[in-house]
Amino acid sequence: MAEPLEVVPSEALWSSLEPAGARERDRRLDAVRRAVAVVAERLETPAGRRGVEAVARLLAVLATTSPRVAEGLGRGFARAAAALETSSTPSLRELARLTRSRELRRGLWILIELIAGLGEASASASRSGLPAGAAPREGVTRTGDGASDTP
């Protein structure tokens, strides 16, 4: 006679594994920190600035828009560079304190995340053998594409 057992050893439950959400947040936070570090380092050199321009151009290509886009973004990057001139690798909180002007702070967030995202995209693109930014075109073509990643 097998009487019902209600207790499952904790190691057999999902709750014993690291919660996915927390892991994902940590991963993103790390990515942002890394990206900030990269921006901070690279913007101090001419090569870095060229890199940032390349990013801006890449964005322009992705978005198939006028050179003004690149310009606009370029300005944004330049301002970010200014804000980061004196920084080492700041934490998120430090970063918020770092930029005195609200404007700069705002712009910075966008750039940081964009670069973090681009970093991820280029990492996955290099895994798949695609150049960074050569990934899905649907996103900027007509809407309603709702394209599933499924074939």
Partner: protein
């Protein structure tokens, strides 16, 4: 539903020529111009599955010299259409600006900017900028009261899509726009918080909203690269975007957000899947970020299009529930120990070998899952037959659908729906028997309700309860429990007597008419009235409605099948359709509404004791020879046991081991305590499941299973439609798809199984089972689907019996019937009839649905519906705790006083997970005479009021307490009457005013 599509089909033959910008075009007469023009003109409020709404004016064109909305023009011969010109561009920009005056663009940080925001695209196409659009917020708070979505009035462009979807597609009639307000907005029940309204959480409105005004809460702060930063960071970003825009123009800002939305695609994955809940078989893209389910996005599903119900749209909380099993468990020394897969499988194999050696292979049974995939059902039955050596294999269709299948086998040959859901919506008359369709098969109900609201069909409902479909019906019959066969036969007899049969159809396509007619002798109208309680006048009216409807379809569910005469009543339905010639044409036929997502497929793929895959009879030696040769074994000839017989065999000591693939038979089988007692007695019980189900608590080995989102395979829905599901995320921990461990177990038992992917299993099944001969994964790619029978060349059969019925002579068979009184009747001791069934928001016992917090909050427990008459007689109050006692057991539930039930009839939903609240503790072991499906619905109980304090049976915020606000569409006249509205169609055109 898709009005343009159906129009196109109806008029397919008639092509007309017309001119667009000087070029000659050809299209079907009646097709909407906006469909033909496609991307040439912007269109925000138009959606092909919603039809014309006419709120946004962005689609303005000139037709024969006057301005018109392209979404309101149907194509006729010789139209002259102009889409270009500064004037039109100006008007469209004006319309677009009006939209943006109601919507703040902050796309880069918006969770809806995922490359498919339709408003974003329209703003881009119309080249709208900050200057053109003067946004001012509306004076209303964000409505955050709904568990699954939020409404931000200030982002709402008043396109009315949500209202159109709620009023005309889902037909729940919750949403309206109050055009008379100074700043119009969407209202729930005329002005209630969304979370306290009649909203059934189907999600249609959220799915079709072209912007972020209505958003799934699961998307908020999760979809964007930036939106996760939270409000404090978002507001500055919004301000920055707006500040930069005048300097660099709107396009760069859009470009930036487009680029950002592309980045999202690198970590937000969209995977096509098929709903894991009911037999409607909705398919959709599920958006995931890691293991988080962000959104379910329905659009391309062949059965459902944009439709879902609460379970498919929002009910995915179970996937990441903390009590998901992630390692195998083995019972040792009176407790469960976590162990490795190899240890678990070796333990099972060793014990199975010992039992088979001692008692033979028929001492083992396998219960396949009708939640699992077709491939898993196939492997489960193959494990039983080819590895263990027994035909003791079944699935949970035994608890619900076998009688419907039997009724169809007897009369028309195939055990499946005669056509598609589309056919139900195309019928002139739909009769629902014993089906609470709006709650049990919500998307099918939506199709029927929509056709009914649009005046395209008449609806008859026969049910004990006055549920939503009954409320909407043109004729509602309320027969006594267990008497459906009587009134169905009486109506058939009347039609024959009055010469209203389809004589040509009966002569040419049906056999056995005379014997059948003679068998109807006992079913005269007055006898039918006496036995069933349905007035003779109503039966006459029904006969008249059937005779006067060119296309009749009948759908039925558990209210028919879960009786001792379930197969016979199903047969009576099919008989009625046959004598009236209602098979083989679009809009006609028999539709048993299958319960689980894959209850059809589990049977199709052979998880039945008497049938190999494709319903090939085990008793047929040539069939056995074919499968034996394919599998390289001898398929056993001995008849197998069904679920019900397996439980009896355990009690008799003949069955010693049971392998249960994800079925909760300990709670969902009738007479649950008797079943649990059997589980206790087994020498070996193996259960695979996502959680420690009630059944699993008795197990010797518990295997952690994968959810549908975590594996590949196919499901077959109620329309015989086979669809692929793709893996959206890996299973957690060591959980595994059932097909993987079935293969590993077969190998541990010495079988040379080598499957590495479910497609190989399908290929094997297709190589031998005729009904799926042409099925392959390639042919099922993406949203493609096939309705069996599928010929080797891939041709499928959406509509059955167009030429012949599935018997050797091609003729259908009328099947004479007798009626028997249900054996369990209320008496002095057990004086009330207890009906039971599903609830919209819970699936069966609720093992999956209780793990979605929003569902649990709205519907936290089962209850018992008591009629106002009975409540008054017994002095019962809403929320009072009562004890229901049957001849088998007792449960404690709270009273919900409602006129959905009448007199001495009670209703208790089946969402009880523990013995003290599970209706099957009360139900009996009586079964359908032909199939052994439990007669769940034949149940007499007594009710004892308990003294405990009155509590809440169902929270007041539950949709059942809402008040619907029916109207046609968005009631556009309201908008067009407004003083501040300038109607562009009145303002010009070359010849316009």
């Amino acid at each position: 539903m898709d009005q343009s599509v159906s129009r196109r089909e109806d008029d397919a033959a008639e092509l007309v020529e017309f001119e667009v910008d000087g070029e000659l075009h050809r299209a079907a007469r009646g097709q909407l111009l906006v469909e033909i023009l496609g991307a040439t003109v912007p269109h925000v409020c138009y959606h092909p599955q919603l039809g014309s709404i006419g709120t946004c004016d962005t689609c303005l064109v000139e037709v024969d010299g006057a301005y018109a909305r392209a979404c309101e023009v149907t194509v006729e011969a010789h139209l002259t259409v102009r889409t270009r010109g500064v004037d039109l561009r100006l008007e469209r920009r004006r319309a677009g600006a009006a939209l943006l005056s109601n919507h703040e663009l902050y796309c880069t940080v918006c969770d809806n900017s995922n490359g498919d925001c339709e408003l974003h695209q329209a703003a881009w196409d119309l080249e709208l900028d900050e200057e053109a659009a003067q946004f001012t917020p509306k004076p209303y708070e964000v409505d955050d009261s709904h568990p699954f979505y939020r409404y931000d009035p200030s982002q709402c462009i008043l396109c009315g899509r949500c209202v159109q979807a709620c009023q005309e597609v889902q037909v729940n009639e919750t949403l309206t726009i109050d055009w008379s307000l100074p700043r119009p907005r969407v209202l729930w029940d005329g002005g209630r918080p969304a979370g306290e309204s009649s909203c059934v959480s189907c999600g249609h409105c959220v799915s079709v909203c072209p912007c972020n005004a209505l958003m799934e809460k699961s998307m908020l702060g999760r979809a964007g690269t930036l939106s996760w930063l939270g409000d404090r960071a978002l507001r500055p970003l919004i301000e920055l975007t707006k500040a930069t825009e005048p300097v660099i123009g709107v396009k760069p800002v859009f470009a930036l957000s487009d680029a950002e939305s592309q980045l999202r695609r690198s970590y937000v994955r969209r995977t096509k899947t098929v709903c894991t809940y009911c037999g409607v078989g909705c398919s959709f893209d599920v958006w995931t970020r890691g293991r988080e389910v962000l959104r379910v996005h329905p659009e391309h599903g062949p059965t459902n299009g944009i439709s879902t119900c609460v379970k498919g749209k929002f009910g995915w909380g179970f996937v990441n529930a903390p009590d998901r099993l992630v390692r195998p468990l083995v019972r040792r020394d009176g407790r469960f120990c976590a162990t490795s897969w190899s240890d678990a499988l070796e333990t099972i194999a060793e014990r199975l070998r010992a039992i088979i050696a001692e008692s033979g292979p028929d001492a083992v049974g396998v219960i396949a899952s009708s939640k699992g995939t077709n491939e898993e059902a196939y492997l489960a039955q193959k494990l039983a037959r080819a590895v263990i050596g027994t035909n003791n294999v079944d699935n949970c269709s035994r608890y619900c659908q076998s009688p419907a299948t039997m009724g169809l086998w007897r009369t028309v040959g195939y055990g499946g729906d005669a056509g598609s859901v589309e056919d139900l919506a195309r019928a002139d008359l739909v009769i629902l028997v014993g089906s609470n369709t709006a709650e049990s098969h919500p998307v099918i109900a939506a199709r029927i309700k929509a056709a009914h609201k649009q005046g395209r069909l008449r609806l008859v409902v026969a049910d004990l309860r006055r549920h939503e479909m009954a409320d909407r019906a043109d004729l509602f019959l309320r027969p006594r429990p267990g008497t459906d066969l009587v009134w169905l036969s009486a109506v058939t007899r009347l039609l024959i007597e009055e010469g209203r049969v389809d004589e040509a159809f009966v002569r040419e396509r049906v056999s056995g008419f005379e014997a059948y007619r003679a068998s109807l002798e006992p079913f005269d109208l007055s006898t039918a009235e006496r036995l069933s309680g349905v007035a003779a006048a109503d039966l006459r009216r029904l006969a008249e409605m059937i005779a006067s409807s060119p296309r009749v379809a009948i759908a039925w569910a558990m209210g028919v099948t879960q009786h001792e005469g379930g197969s016979d009543t199903s047969t009576a339905i099919s008989n009625l359709l046959l004598v009236t010639g209602n098979y083989g044409r679009p809009g006609t036929g028999a539709y048993p509404l299958r319960g689980h997502n894959n209850v059809q497929g589990a049977s199709d793929f052979g998880a039945m004791p008497s049938y190999l895959p494709g319903y090939e009879a085990v008793s047929d030696s040539s069939v056995r020879a074919k499968w034996s040769s394919l599998w390289g074994v001898t398929v056993p000839e001995r008849a197998g046991l069904d679920n019900h017989q397996m439980i009896d065999a355990v009690h008799a000591g003949a069955l010693r081991a049971l392998i249960v693939v994800g079925e909760e038979l300990g709670i969902v089988d009738a007479n649950a305590l008797h079943v649990q007692d059997a589980l206790r007695r087994l020498d070996l019980l193996v259960v695979s499941d996502l959680f420690l189900s009630r059944t699993a608590t008795f197990a010797d080995v518990v295997l952690p299973a994968a959810a549908s989102l975590e594996k590949e395979g196919t499901f077959t829905n109620t329309e015989r439609r086979i669809q692929r599901l793709y893996q959206a995320m890996p299973p957690p921990g060591e959980a595994r798809p059932d097909w993987e461990w079935l293969v590993a177990l077969a190998q541990a038992l010495g079988a040379p199984w080598r499957y590495t992917h479910p497609s190989e299993v399908m290929a094997e099944a297709a190589s031998a089972a005729a009904i799926v001969a042409g099925v392959s994964y390639e042919r099922l790619e993406g949203y493609a689907s096939l309705q069996w029978p599928v010929a080797p060349d891939g041709h499928d059969t959406p509509l059955l019996y167009t030429q012949r019925f599935a018997f050797d002579d091609g003729k259908a068979r009328l099947w004479p019937l007798e009626w028997h009184e249900p054996s369990e009747q209320p008496d002095e001791e057990f004086d009330l009839h207890l009906n039971n069934g599903r609830l919209l928001e819970h699936f069966h016992e609720g093992n999956l649905t209780y793990r979605t917090a929003g569902i649990e909050a709205q519907t936290p427990q089962p209850f018992v519906e008591v009629s106002p008459e009975l409540a008054a007689e017994r002095g019962l109050r809403d929320g009072q705790l009562v004890r229901l006692v049957s001849r088998r057991g007792a449960v404690r539930v709270r009273v919900l006083v409602t006129d959905r039930v009448r007199g001495r009839e009670l209703y208790m939903p089946m969402n009880g997970r523990a013995n003290h609240e599970a209706v099957n503790v009360l139900t009996s072991s009586a079964t359908d005479r032909a199939t052994h499906t439990p007669a769940f619905k034949e149940l007499a109980v007594r009710l004892e009021a308990l003294g405990d304090p009155v509590g809440v049976a169902v929270p007041r915020r539950n949709w059942r307490f809402g008040r619907r606000t029916p109207q046609r569409g968005v009631a556009i006249e309201g908008k067009r009457r407004r003083r501040d509205y300038r109607d562009p169609t009145r303002s010009g055109g070359r010849y316009g005013g």
